[in-house]
């Protein structure tokens, strides 16, 4: 246990587009403090390490229990959720009382730690990420699904569109149109569903060309950073196989 009178420093890469800089805040260590609770602390008394009153840091937050995907950011360079980033274990692990926070770099910056992740949601539209049901009226239950299959689909369906996998992926950069791992895993989710599989080709087609499955460089960073432990690389491999099959079908 770290002594409670101890302090730690948040070194935050903040600012507006075109004008980003580091600012440091020294905070008193409280039990179970995490990155979002620390940012709330700054909000109440926004005085930086030099003793100057500054504008409080802005960031996205929501559930504070890692199911909403809001508070994604780079913590010591690692993409993760701020709410589950507990201060004390990080200090112990790094043997350093300074923790660096920065906004994601693969999305347009809004301000401080806020970026605009809309592109992920736009990509969900492109890949037909839904089940085509007839209506929202009564048509009895859906298809039977084995517990094993449900388990696989449930894991894929816990994706919060938080963007950690996109941020960590070396193939997502200014020169590429790669949709990123999360979107491909969603295609697998809907194609695995007995009803969803009827429209499987509609979802595979957008993944065939530029920006699709072939752009994956197999760096495997995505599975390492996914807060929901979604088997993203397996999903990409499976969709790669489906696409290959489809290309053969298209040929003959």
């Amino acid at each position: 246990m770290v002594k409670l009178s101890e302090t730690y420093i948040l070194k935050i890469f903040r600012g507006h587009p075109g004008n980003q800089y580091f600012e440091e805040f020294e905070l008193e260590l409280k039990p179970f403090a995490n990155v979002t609770s620390s940012l709330m602390q700054i909000q109440k008394n926004p005085i930086n390490i030099k003793g100057k009153r500054v504008e409080p840091i802005v960031w996205e937050q929501g559930c504070l229990e890692e199911v909403c995907g809001s508070c994604s950011m780079l913590i010591n360079g690692y993409p993760r959720q701020g709410c589950t980033a507990l201060i004390e274990p990080i200090m112990k692990e790094t043997k350093n009382k300074t923790i660096t926070l920065a906004p994601f770099s693969k999305f347009p910056l809004v301000r401080d730690l806020i970026v605009d992740r809309s592109i992920m949601f736009d990509n969900l539209k492109k890949v037909h990420a839904w089940i085509d049901v007839d209506s929202s009226y009564d048509r009895g239950p859906g298809p039977k699904i084995s517990p094993e299959k449900q388990e696989v689909m449930y894991t894929l369906s816990t994706c919060m569109t938080c963007g950690c996998c996109v941020e960590a992926c070396p193939q997502v950069n200014e020169r590429s149109k790669f949709v990123g791992p999360a979107i491909i895993a969603q295609v697998k989710l809907f194609n695995d569903n007995p009803t969803g599989s009827i429209q499987a080709i509609e979802r595979l087609r957008p993944l065939m060309g530029e920006g699709g499955v072939a752009d994956c460089g197999n760096a495997q960073n995505c599975v390492r950073v996914c807060p929901k432990k979604i088997p993203l690389t397996d999903a990409i491999a499976a969709m790669g196989r489906s696409i290959t099959k489809q290309i053969f079908k298209d040929l003959f």
Binding site: C63, V67, C68, D132, Y137, K144, P147
Partner: protein, 630 residues
Amino acid sequence: MKKQVKEVIVVGGGLAGLSAAMRLAEKGCKVKIVSVTKVKRSHSVCAQGGINAAINSMGEDDSPLIHAYDTIKGGDFLANQPPILEMCLSAPKIIYMMDRFGCTFNRTLEGNLDFRRFGGTLYSRTAFCGASTGQQLLYSLDEQVRRYEVKGLVEKFENHEFMRLIIDDEGVARGIVIMDLFNMKLDILKADAVVIATGGPGLIFKKSTNSTFCTGAANGRLYMQGMKYANGEFIQIHPTAIPGEDKLRLMSESARGEGGRIYVEGDSSKSIINSDGKTIPCGISGKPWYFLEELYPAFGNLVPRDIGAREILRICEMGMGVDGKSQVYLDVSHLPEEKKHKLESILDIYQKFTGDNPREVPMKIFPAVHYSMGGGWVDFPAADDPDRWTRFRQMTNIPGCFNVGESDYQYHGANRLGANSLLSCIFGGLVTGNEVPRYIDSLSTSYDEISSKTFERSLQLEEDFKKDLLSRNGAENVHMLHDELAEWMVNNVTVKRNNKDLTLTLNKIKEIKERYKNISLDDRTKFSNQTYVFANQFLSMLELAQVITKGALCRNEFRGAHFKSEFPNRDDENFLKTTIATYDAKKDEPVISYEPVEMQYLKPILRDYSQAKKIKPTLQNIPSNIELPL
């Protein structure tokens, strides 16, 4: 007026907002969804345990009528009964609809939907997706709505906040003023109906199980614009949450539904009165004392939430809390692996935030503010009411303004049963989706015939307030005021209440309202200024805090979640009635009035959870012409 294309605004993108938007789009309406966040991040994701439907797949002789009976009784008879009856009748169809949408419900070996047992009932009627059911249901609706977005029927205004309802000279809703949370610009959205689905006001208490979006600000603003707010004093305290600095994270009822047990270390030198009125020892010293199981042999760890929360507090007040603190054990370590697996997501949450592995050691938990049974007053004509088709379900007292989900007051009375919230959100959303087009058909004029001055005037009011707030230069910090408000609310307006402290709290809120005039913002910039956003919300949060507190002060009885030590009994003669709070700018506190509860199907009985009797309730006067929304 039969318009070619009906235009509707839906504020809020949780389960209620999305199910309304989906049904509206399906009926050909053009829908604008306004949400403070990406709708996929809405607070519905936090619902863990499940969603109720009496499908009776386990051969327990369950039925939607028993579900309705449990819900009415669980709500201590304060809820109007027609909406509950129709919700419970619709529940199986709602589960099947979500199943068809691809919602990843847990399965039996045969591949059918699996069900678990939840609080306040003796039946296994809770369908679930691991322990993140709300997240999975929300995602399924998010996907269906995205489909309509691609078709051009839905347009999303995410990262935008509802600031004000635009009401014309006839008092009819015609649009809203919104603020872009990225560049802080104010704008007007016009429509012929507005659906409010903005969730609960948990952030008034700050430490709650709610997401930080749940400020209640939209309802507070509407209340200040004349919307009636009903049963505000009924705030559900969830018995089991993880204590924390920034948030009290929920530990789902499903942990107990799967067999989790609550206990403290016994102390045979102490004694306690059980649910039969008998005095029993507080267990055996040095051994675990499963107090809920001893106090309520029939329902045990699955008593309704208000009872669970009060008993945990009672045990802690007797000095028996774990480590002398306000906390008790919730143990799932003895459960078989397969049950632990079903709870994996919530056990992970516990481990991530405390460092302890609940698969091996008991969890430490304590009650926390969880859900608001109260909310915007809405109409709900019964199927056999003669004026059924000239009134509109889910519509507030402001024509054209509907309210649905946790932000309305229906379905749960004085206490909500676990796994009924997701159901009420989806049911209410579908009902709203059917009622809104019918309302628009009844209009004689559309928004495009309303003078532009009506819209500009509303926008100007918001511009003026923004300017005022940004220029305030006093000594108060809005976040510190929030801490102070929350401390008073948590101490005096939650599990146990008394009139002396409620009066003091009401005065305290008035004092904070005065001090609010002297706030100064640490951020005065024009981009993503969260300090300003919160300062603006805080004004209406203070108003709702008064509604909650005054409603509690005026209700001199014990009913469901509302417990007052000096009035320890339910008083049907004087208080079996709905509290209505209305805003009067000339008065410094809410005006409280009452209206009768509709109880045509089931007369009030004692709310007793000491017996394990599965009874076949008889509901009377059930209309023969009920039309369910699906």
